[in-house]
């Protein structure tokens, strides 16, 4: 059974169309990530699911109920915001309990739920503090706690990690993944960061300009991007794109090859000049300048000793070549 379904959802602000027809089925217990560049409509779509924004046309279904006319508090959802959005005048306990109090749940039950969430999120010691007395990471946990206590059918997260520093972000990412396994609830998560999408999602929804470009598991998108946009957006460093004669040889408008699928080898077909080398320890990124194709990145495992200015030959691993036609759509793989 689908736990969330979007049917031909569109949204316009005045004359600007922000969401241009989105269809999506989310399965029970799935971790779905909306990813796309900033301004592509991810938050708007999430707010439509939450009921904070009315769609211009189309339908939203949560569970087996069409919720187009249901107010946010009655949709059986909980949401975590980028800015945490904790109530400044309430302490942690008050923040977590407010929604339950509004629903008229008995006091003892509220206490029990808060206690359970506080255990999961290690918030016991903080229950009597105000949001202003918490660190960024703690506020984020309170915001997640406030969502958990409601025991919603559907969790919505809008870029919950963007305000955290890099180290905390990795930790919290792991926490969220664990939490999802623990609760088994359906979760829709918005981010502009493809790494977050790849590491967290059961399925990724790539959005661009208010449209879905592709839906699939992280590895499906990585291995078989449906078009140039997805190919360029998923994976880091980005996929290299090569046009012109080389692509034409393969019967394509554009040829794509990921940096990790390029080798530097004396018998490689393409010649290029090293322009910059980055040593990451585990890997080395070699950036080469290829006549008329510009900067191309190659990722070499371990240490690679190349100097800027050196001429090298590049060898793509043939089974990892991606071919795209003149509309940017993926062509069937060469056998």
């Amino acid at each position: 059974m689908a736990s969330l379904a979007l049917e031909k959802v569109t949204k316009s602000f005045g004359k600007t169309d922000v969401i241009k027809g989105v269809d999506l089925d989310v399965r029970e217990g799935e971790f779905i990530v909306f990813v796309g560049p900033s301004g592509c409509g991810k938050s708007t779509l999430l707010r439509i699911i939450a009921g904070l924004e009315d769609q211009t046309s189309g339908h939203v279904r949560i569970g087996d109920q069409v919720v187009d006319a249901v107010p946010p508090a009655k949709r059986g959802i909980a949401m975590v915001f980028q800015s945490y959005a904790l109530y400044p005048h309430l302490n942690v306990r008050g923040n977590m309990g407010l929604a339950l109090k509004q629903e008229g749940i008995p006091k003892a039950e509220i206490e029990a739920r808060i206690k359970k969430a506080a255990d999961i999120l290690a918030l016991d010691a903080l229950l009597d503090r105000r949001p202003s007395e918490l660190s960024g990471g703690q506020r984020q946990r309170v915001a997640i706690g406030r969502a958990i206590v409601r025991q919603p059918k559907l969790f919505l997260f809008d870029e919950p990690l963007s305000n955290l520093d890099a180290a905390l972000r990795v930790n919290t990412r792991i926490e969220i993944a664990k939490l999802h396994r623990l609760l088994g609830a359906t979760l829709v998560y918005v981010t502009h960061d493809q790494t977050e999408a790849m590491t967290l999602a059961d399925r990724i929804v790539v959005l661009n300009g208010g449209r879905i470009e592709q839906v699939g598991s992280p590895m499906e998108l990585y291995k078989n991007p449906a078009n140039l946009f997805v190919a360029g957006f998923i994976g880091s460093p980005k996929m290299n794109f090569i046009g012109g004669a080389i692509a034409a040889e393969h019967g394509a408008q554009t040829l794509g090859i990921r940096p990790e699928n390029l080798e530097i080898a004396a018998d490689g077909p393409w010649s290029a000049m090293v322009s910059h080398v980055e040593h990451l320890g585990s890997d080395t990124y070699v950036y080469v300048e290829m006549a008329e194709h510009g900067l191309i990145a190659a990722r070499i495992v371990g240490e690679a000793l190349h100097q800027p200015g050196e001429m090298v030959r590049l060898k793509p691993v043939p089974e990892f070549l991606h071919l795209f036609d003149e509309n940017g759509l993926a062509l069937p793989r060469p056998a």
Binding site: R47, A50, L52, P71, P72, A73, K74, I77, A78, M79, F81, Q82, S83, Y84, A85, L86, Y87, P88, H89, L98, A99, Q102, E103, P131, S132, R146
Partner: protein, 279 residues
């Protein structure tokens, strides 16, 4: 704050300018206060001197307080000012919330229309207002003044508060909606406390012209029972003889309540600022 950028000469100049400005601003007030404690002869002979043993006199205060009605005038001024501020803040904040929070047709036009009141003085409408008040039997009531002052204060209040309310985090309001709070609760419990500094600012800017106003009390409520302090003080300004002791004492006393209100609001203002700093 930034020692590297402030030379002593520069700091000195800034302070000098501030001191001069303070003296200019305060000197009329000090002159009134000083002379209110002097005898009539003292006031006229050496108006710029502080009271001395020979010129000191409480006659002005005795006249004012002995007049008896003066306490009532104070009460009238306080009622009118406080109730007006209350309504200005309440309705101003509600309008500002609607304008900044909800998208509806003519939103911008309505905002502009409300802001227009800042530029057009309400006194232009005096005759119409008087006719209206007379027709509805409100002349010589507190309500007449309160209605006029509320109308007079709302445009600035909407203008300032809408600006501040736009800065209240949309996520916060959305979180509250998901948690099932009503729009009224969001307004009163979440948004109003966060814009408290702006509310205090509006209160101060609204209060002073109301307290000092002579025009509308004279026209709409000149009667004994509704007379305000500013109007009451004029009684001592005769066409031929003016009781200067009483006028100066009345004015000195009139400063006090407004000063107290100002301190209350400015405390709120500072508390509001520090409370808002932590999101």
């Amino acid at each position: 704050m930034r020692p590297a950028r402030s030379s002593p000469a520069r700091t000195g100049l800034v302070h000098l300018a501030l001191i001069v400005w303070t003296i200019v601003a305060l000197s009329p007030v000090i002159l009134i206060l000083m002379n209110s404690f002097k005898s009539r002869a003292g006031i006229f002979r050496e108006p710029l001197m502080p009271p001395t043993g020979s010129t000191f006199s409480m006659i002005g205060y005795q006249t004012v307080l002995g007049e008896g009605h003066f306490i009532r005038y104070f009460g009238n001024s306080l009622i009118v000012t406080l109730v007006s501020i209350f309504f200005v803040l309440l309705f101003g904040a509600m309008a500002a919330f609607a304008l900044s929070e909800y998208r509806f047709r003519l939103n911008t036009a309505l905002g502009l229309f409300l802001a227009l009141g800042i530029m057009i003085p309400i006194r232009l409408g005096t005759i119409g207002i008087l006719q209206m008040m007379a027709a509805s039997g409100l002349v010589d009531t507190h309500l007449a003044l309160i209605l006029v002052y509320t109308a007079q204060g709302i445009p600035l209040a909407v203008f300032i508060l809408a600006e501040f309310m736009q800065q209240v985090s949309a996520d916060l309001k959305n979180a509250a909606r998901i948690d099932g709070l009503s729009e009224y609760t969001i307004f009163f419990r979440l948004v109003l406390p966060l814009v408290r500094p702006a509310m205090a600012t509006v209160a101060v800017f609204t209060m002073i012209p109301i307290w000092n106003d002579l025009w509308f009390p004279l026209i709409l409520a000149p009667g004994e029972s509704t007379r305000t302090v500013t109007l009451g003080a004029q009684l001592f300004l005769g066409q031929f003889v003016t009781n200067w002791n009483a006028v100066l004492s009345a004015l000195s006393l009139a400063i006090l309540p407004v000063l107290i209100l100002y301190f209350i609001f400015s405390r709120q203002l500072i508390r509001g600022i520090t409370a808002g700093a932590v999101k």
